[in-house]
Symmetry: C2
DNA sequence: CCATTGTTTTGAACAACGTTCAATTACATG
DNA sequence: CATGTAATTGAACGTTGTTCAAAACAATGG
């Protein structure tokens, strides 16, 4: 048939992404399937593949929104006068965002993308944006150090907090320690600040 | 039929685990399947389920060996006189073990276990053993601090290095920074030592 | 040496998955 | 109203993990 009258191309693409997002939020990415999604939106499975390369592409589209949401939370918390304490604020923002969007976050960092599929550029760009905000804080902590040092420090802190929170999110932090992720994140921030100040 | 003459029960269990391990090493855990495994060992798929609860249980059995292997590597590198530098040695041991057993490590930390399945006790015990070794180093660095502080520090360092190396292993470290995992691990060790010394 | 017993092994079957593509259908245009 | 175009369909293919009645083998007792 030709395009059904109920949705334009753009509307359909949006419908697919939004429904996929809802589905992942509710059931987690492992329960997410092409058949279930197509049923939910009232189209046949094959239709999905005329608007997206494969399921991977749909999850990736959802991931854009997830990462944008985190960026928005960071932007909201952004301080005109960044300092050491601001890093703790961002840690809180990060931890609670991940906690409140557990399934979406898992989709972002646990979904297996196929071997050949490249890492999208916007992925790196979005993350770079987040890290830049942290870099500002490190710059403020020690204005005498070159910006490269601050960048290095912020990337390392981001990687640390991020990956420890992934560990928590997959239920494996308790294998290593019996502490809340909030505790751990804040201590990591302290440690990284302390080491940075002692340079 | 009754038990086939070619393998005793114990031999068969061992054969299953060993073949599963080989398979994961060669192809990765995502290519690992019940049918392929049964074909490889020359038994029918159903046979696997008479010796293991499910595929998860087989992967878990492989994981025992993986974690034991890491523990053995740590034990080999263990120093009678631990100090700050020894932590770097362990970082190297850890990183190269993960690098040399990429697929096995992924099976250990990326394989999705079913919701209800409990974390095995030996899992925690093995990891605790590794962390104890690190704790000794921290104790040596500052003998005046209580052992709880050293334990805290070693768990945090272990979690950091471990999770950053997971990030690398899943090909996502490059999303955050353009550095080798070795570099990152050693800087993490330095940072944690520095902060610990400054307490 | 054979029949019976008790397990172990088998493999077809089930429900689900991602994906493809010929056939169909609905809409826009002439 | 006929024709053409393009979106949609859904059956089909090859996977997957798992189950279970049936079959097959080894040990046992006579």
């Amino acid at each position: 048939m030709a395009r059904r009258a109920d949705h334009t191309r753009e509307e359909l693409v949006e419908l697919i992404i939004d429904s996929a997002q809802k589905m992942i939020v509710e059931l987690g990415v492992e329960k997410f399937s092409a058949r279930a999604l197509s049923k939910k939106i009232g189209y046949a499975p094959g239709t999905l593949y005329h608007h997206f390369e494969d399921l991977d592409a749909i999850v990736t589209a959802v991931n854009v929104k997830t990462l944008s949401g985190l960026a928005a939370s960071f932007a909201k918390a952004r301080d005109a006068e960044p300092n050491a304490n601001t890093l703790h604020v961002y840690a809180d923002v990060f931890i609670s965002y991940v906690r409140n969007h557990k399934h979406l976050w898992n989709a972002l960092f646990e979904f297996k993308r196929s071997e050949d599929s490249e890492v999208p550029d916007w992925y790196v760009a979005k993350i770079d944006g987040l890290i830049q905000i942290l870099t500002d804080c490190f710059v403020a902590i020690r204005k005498d150090l070159p910006i490269e040092e601050a960048q290095r420090a912020s990337r390392l802190l981001f990687a640390s907090v991020h990956s420890v929170s992934s560990l928590e999110n997959s239920g494996r932090l308790e294998l290593i320690m019996n502490r809340s992720i909030d505790d751990v994140a804040h201590e990591l921030v302290d440690i990284h600040i302390s080491a940075y100040q002692a340079r």
